[in-house]
């Protein structure tokens, strides 16, 4: 076994030093009645070459943007990933290390996290960001819990236009914590209904949670939500599933948001059938000590040299145990590193340019589809790189027809929203050329005739 270095002779020698006769003697502490009395029933071991063949076989059974034209978004986005990222995160000093408990031999990870925290703050307009959460949905759930802690209130409002998986995750986390979740409907623009929000808001409300952009791709009017929410002493949480948008849209911070929880997958992280992704989490100074997750801070060594350490860990489970701000321990370190590299490559100009490309391409597609017979746009609000299309026939039929032409045309919304059986969500990114969009439009048109 190439991963296990022990030779027979090594084992002999080690048993002698330990003073037992056989490896089995090391397990005498395990009572016989709980020991497994048979070999495990697993597929036979594969040599490396056979393993590779088997996994290539599995890989071939998945459609991807290499095999299909893809217009799928909905919380996971097909953005270009510069080759630099994988080559740098493949440096074993990064990916085979663990949490930087020993700062003197973890400065690479620590400085990178410090930079990551800075980039997230710059992007979101927040004061502090943590070192990462599991994903956008769980980060959003942690944000909900944090607002309840910080405000000592137990009611949380959630926009019906928030990503439904985020909503479900929030519900799971709140399930036994006596937090009441109230859904705020959306309006004809596909935006959170402000008057409905105003109606529900009261002094028991800990927070309002809005997508930015929301699940329909629509850019919520956070500037209008913020004063309403703040008036009741509640927190406004923006959940950002597509953070490329932040290269172009007003930052949540500018709009009065208190907490930003989001999904960083768009920042150079592979689609990978849904994970590992990157939950990012940023807040105002006021909530610093309620924050979940790890934080890296700058300090200095004995000789005055700058260095970085994990800090404020009295918030965390390993110190505070049942009183911790979260149970999170391992987070998504390497994904945060990918995002840090992505953002450092894109920089000030690139993040803007890629955002503009997404916006423009989605708009081009949106107009073209809207002009087709049999298709319409149910929501009027401004969108970023996703939009909802309504078909005059069943979405399943439309999408199946597109599949015939190797197009993954969008996400059916019927599974998430009642009354949306004829709607689907189309995403267009900088990866979709005009020619590809034209193919999609023609395919939709072709079927509509």
């Amino acid at each position: 076994m190439r991963y296990i270095p022990h030779t027979e002779e090594d084992i002999r020698q080690m048993l002698d030093v330990i003073g037992v006769d056989a490896v089995d003697d090391l397990f005498t502490g395990i009572p016989a009645d709980v020991r497994l009395q048979r070999p495990m029933n697993l597929a036979p071991a594969l040599a490396e070459g056979d393993l590779l063949r088997e996994f290539k076989q599995l890989a071939r059974q998945n459609a991807t943007a290499d095999s299909h034209l893809s217009f799928l978004g909905g919380g996971a986005y097909n953005h270009f990933i510069p080759a630099v990222i994988d080559q740098l995160v493949s440096r074993s000093e990064f990916y085979t290390a663990y949490t930087p408990y020993q700062p003197e031999i973890s400065q690479g990870t620590l400085q990178a996290i410090f930079e990551y925290q800075t980039l997230i703050c710059q992007l979101t307009g927040m004061d502090v960001a943590n070192a990462s959460m599991y994903d956008g949905a769980s980060a959003c759930a942690e944000a909900v819990l944090m607002t309840a802690r910080a405000t000592r209130r137990k009611k949380v409002l959630i926009s019906a236009a928030l990503h439904p998986e985020y909503r479900e995750t929030v519900a799971t986390y709140c399930r036994y914590l006596d937090i009441e979740l109230v859904t705020i409907p959306f309006d004809a623009n596909g935006c959170t209904d402000l008057s409905a929000l105003e109606d529900v808001l009261d002094k028991d409300v800990a927070a309002m949670i809005s997508g930015y952009p929301n699940f329909f791709g629509v850019i919520e009017d956070l500037a209008a939500q913020a004063p309403l929410v703040h008036r009741c002493g509640a927190r406004l949480v923006a959940a950002v599933a597509e953070p490329i948008a932040l290269g172009l849209l007003k930052s949540p911070g500018e709009l009065g948001v208190d907490i930003v929880a989001g999904e960083g997958q768009s920042f150079g992280i592979p689609l990978a059938f849904g994970g590992p992704y990157l939950g990012f989490f940023a807040a105002r100074q006021q909530d610093l000590r309620s924050m979940p997750g790890r934080l890296v801070g700058a300090t200095h060594d004995k000789e005055g040299r700058r260095g970085f350490v994990l800090t404020l860990s009295t918030r965390e489970q390993h110190i505070r145990r049942e009183k911790a701000t979260s149970n999170i321990c391992s987070n998504e370190g390497l994904c945060a590193l990918m995002a840090t590299i992505y953002l450092s490559l894109m920089g000030k100009a690139g993040i803007r340019e890629v955002a503009v490309q997404n916006l423009s391409k989605a708009e081009y597609a949106r107009r073209a589809i809207a002009a087709l017979d049999g298709f319409s746009l149910p929501f009027a609000g401004p969108v970023f790189n996703e939009f909802v299309v309504e078909a005059s026939e069943s979405v399943e039929a439309v999408l199946a027809r597109l599949e015939q032409q190797d197009i993954l045309g969008g996400i059916p919304l019927g599974r998430y929203f009642e009354g949306m059986a004829n709607r689907f969500l189309v995403c267009v990114t900088e990866q979709n050329s005009k020619a590809e969009i034209d193919v999609l439009v023609a395919a939709l048109a072709g079927g509509g005739q």
């Binding site: 799971t172 036994y176 007003k250 200095h300 370190g333």
Partner: protein, 484 residues
Amino acid sequence: MTTLGTSGLILNEKLMFEHSDPGRKGYSLPALDVPEVALPAHLVRDQVAGFPELSEVDVVRHFTRLSTWNYGVDSGFYPLGSCTMKYNPKINETVARLPGLAGSHPMTPEHLSQGALKLMYELQTALAEISGFSAVTLQPAAGAHGELAGMLMIRAWHEAQGNPRTKVLIPDTAHGTNPASATLCGYAVVPIASDGVLSAQTVAAHMDDEVAALMVTNPNTLGLFEAEIREICDIVHAKGGLVYCDGANLNALMGIARPGDMGIDVMHFNLHKTFATPHGGGGPGAGPVGVTEILAPFMPVPVVTSGASGYELHFERPQSIGRMRSFFGNFGVLVRAYAYIRTMGAAGLRHASEMAVLNANYVRARLEGTFHLPYLNRSLHEVVFSDRDLAGGCHTLDLAKRLIDYGYHPPTIYFPLVVKGAIMIEPTETESLETLDEFCEAMLAIAGEARDNPELLHAAPVRTRIRRLDETAAARNPRLKWGG
């Protein structure tokens, strides 16, 4: 003797923001091939203030240099107890990057994702066989996330029985995530004292019908098998409670004993520990959860099933606790773990556990005469010493820092809390006798230094680019971002 650690040329590197030069670019995008669109001005921000402007060269050098300040498993021995820092096989990195796996969108229709779903199904099945549980969910993103999922299932089960109960028993050796997870389910945590291992008697004494569950770790964080586990489970079950097992230490047991066979009801796996997926500088990991039949209906949605028309995602599970996150789990991590299981096979996994235990016992045998060993029971995959016998006013922290000078990653320190100045060493099975011998010699040499020249320990590390950092200053005046 030359030590493993020495000093050599290392390059300094500023923060990326300090390198930034206005107008410099590190990206390329194709020219926009559709009309450029503008949003209404009130929606649009200025350029992101403070964002860096770097060339690709700047970025590559920046992170290359940063990496050289780190220490990974590929650098050397990393006996970080409780974390199972075994070797991360390289072929697993390769297969996880196959375009058909890394490029698969989670919203792709199921019939076009059969490879991914099959992999998940097969992994669930293998983990169930390894652990002895009836069903496995792959959704949780890490161990603590698995704990939360598992404890939520326990609570949901109690709710379904009509009484959620109020308390969870947790031994003092437990990891901090255990009480934190229990709290997130609305339970009060009752810490219970163990004397190295938990006695059935103690459990019985605490067990009543307000106790929803006992959370154990087996082998526990002292590296000791909870020998009374079966009796303990019976006691808990008899009072209507359930038993959660923190499976962080499964690396001691593969093919040898199965938590599901011990009476345990729920357990999370740490794929980034037992199943050799890389720790990534702090994640991503994956924390699948195995459950007995009675808990299966409560698993998070969706569940991957195998049906007549292929593999499917099953959403309609009325008793489910719901979703733990978006999509289906840390798939890229699952790919690596599955590759590991397929590479090792049943005999290979058992051999891994055996050699992990052999290695821990060997280190124990070599150090036992010099370092204080608070619990004398037979160790499994790790061994916990204390700093009681360290001379010269030196503590565990000093020993740890001095090990860095010798070229090693230090063990886990000051955990578990039941051992004062704990030095928790988990070698894992991928370390050779040669490596263990050199490490033990370093440990013994440091014990000698503590006696003869303790300043060497107090001053350590001296070979690193920077010396001991002022953590108090960091916490007192938090500087958590550049310019901030």
